[in-house]
Amino acid sequence: MEALVDIKQVDFAHGQRQIYRQLSLQVPRGKIVAVMGPSGIGKTTLLRLIGGQLRPQQGQIEFAGHNIPTLSRSALYQVRQRMSMLFQSGALFTDMSVYENVAFPLREHSNLPESMIRSIVLMKLQAVGLRGARDLMPAELSGGMARRAALARAIALDPELIMYDEPFAGQDPISMGVLVKLIKDLNDSLGLTSIIVTHDVDEVMSIADYAYIIADQQVVAKGTPAELAQVDNALVKQFMGGEADGPVAFHYPADDYAQDLLARGAAVTGSSK
């Protein structure tokens, strides 16, 4: 199976903090790949690495045969036209209407006449069900609608790859269902490749072809949703089952509780003497 995105042995540190060590993962063309993991392990960072906004200290990140970290600025901008990213907040331009937001990438990267842009924009908005909301400003949209509008903008240039950053975070069950269905439908009808970074296990497992679980700076488990359900790993089980305590401890690392309480008491009595 041909990999559209191929990440090989990537090391990445943000300042002092090591985020990835020898991370490798592949995204096959035409598939929906889920990347899951506990909060704060740098899932968004992974997408920014693929988009070339961050550069790894070591390793290769290949997108359709281009090694992203070594590309020149202009080559990177060329490659970016073939991918798009749906940000957690939607990142719609607040000073433009929904219509103008979707038209924006077309105006920037094509010389299409206005009538053609209009048709494309309306088609994309129809696909996400917001054709009637084209004249609204982003501030007038609900969270779910804003994300759908951003999705319409993301597919405006018919990219090969869409990266979703926490697409389901903070959505009510209905808009979550709408988004899950949209992602699946778009992927199938447009022949896209999708990477979904999330921790909403149930939703993403219903549509993903393949999934990676990242923890401790590395991939700890991978496989199809069915395979992952069978993995005999305490951390994977905790994550997939959503249990409060396990290998990922409920408590932030701290001194012994009883010791801590006693020490505090001693300090207070000490100071009162």
């Binding site: 920014r48 798009s84 990213m85 940000f87 907040s89 331009f93 607040t94 990438p105």
Partner: protein, 259 residues
């Protein structure tokens, strides 16, 4: 104690290095590949935001400052029987100093803070990242038009400020306090020089425009993308830009009129 001084020094050097780097990046974005078809509408829109929307405060402040100058100047000059010098006094103060400086300070407060907040917010809501991912350079798309708009608008605002201020001075001096109409203008004309005063004033305000706009954009672009970060960046824009304007004003005045 020494550590504290050293840390002040280090911070100064770091921030200078950061600003220098930002300047290079900015210059690169501004100079690189002009695309008039796409950038003209953007520039126009930003001139509307930055320039037109600052017009009211500039006109009102200019008028009042001119009127106060005339009132204050008259009470001093009349003691020496030199009230005919009111015209040049008002005109020179405005053209050389108050026009460029007060405009720059008002601009920093009115437009500069708004620029910083806008860019900071665009950063916080990932709009800048999203531009980058759409293969659109945010420096060229967002920063450059705002920079040019500031650089062009502020000298224009300073001219308007001075003109309105002189008119305010005329209203108070001539129409209210009774300085002779003809003398007011003719003495002004004979002592205000086109090159020395008007042009130097314009040069001053171009320099201020560069500094204020640049500081505002830099602070916004490098703000911490949280609400606390943006509010502190906005405050810092007004403070830094105002201090820079006043400091530079002294240097420029010394260069232009000191020698």
């Amino acid at each position: 104690m020494l550590d504290a001084i050293a840390s002040v020094g280090r911070q100064t050097l770091d921030s200078l290095a950061g600003m220098g780097k930002a300047l290079l990046v900015l210059l690169n974005a501004i100079i690189g590949k002009p695309t008039p078809k796409k950038s003209a509408p953007l520039l126009l829109q930003q001139m509307h935001v930055v320039g037109v929307k600052s017009l009211l405060i500039i006109i009102v402040s200019g008028l009042f400052i001119g009127m106060v100058l005339a009132l204050q100047g008259y009470t001093i000059l009349v003691d020496y029987g030199a009230e005919q010098s009111l015209g040049p006094m008002v005109a020179l103060s405005l053209l050389r100093e108050l026009g460029p400086v007060v405009t720059a300070l008002l601009f920093a407060g009115r437009a500069g803070s708004a620029l910083t907040a806008e860019i900071g917010l665009m950063k916080a809501t990932e709009q800048l990242s999203s531009l980058e991912m759409m293969a659109v350079d945010p420096l060229r798309r967002v920063i450059a038009p705002r920079f040019w708009a500031g650089l062009i608008s502020m000298p224009m605002l300073a001219l308007i400020f001075s003109a309105v201020g002189i008119y305010g001075g005329y209203m108070v001096g001539v129409q209210w306090l009774g300085v002779d109409d003809g003398a007011f203008w003719s003495v002004m004309q004979s002592s205000v020089d086109w090159y020395d005063d008007l042009l130097n004033g314009i040069i001053k305000s171009v320099v201020f425009a560069f500094v204020v706009t640049w500081i505002a954009l830099y602070k916004g672009y490098n703000s911490t993308p949280t609400s606390a970060g943006i509010s502190s960046a906005t405050t810092s824009t007004v403070v830094t830009a105002s201090l820079a304007v006043l400091g530079l004003d002294f240097v420029l005045t010394a260069l232009m009129f000191g020698g």
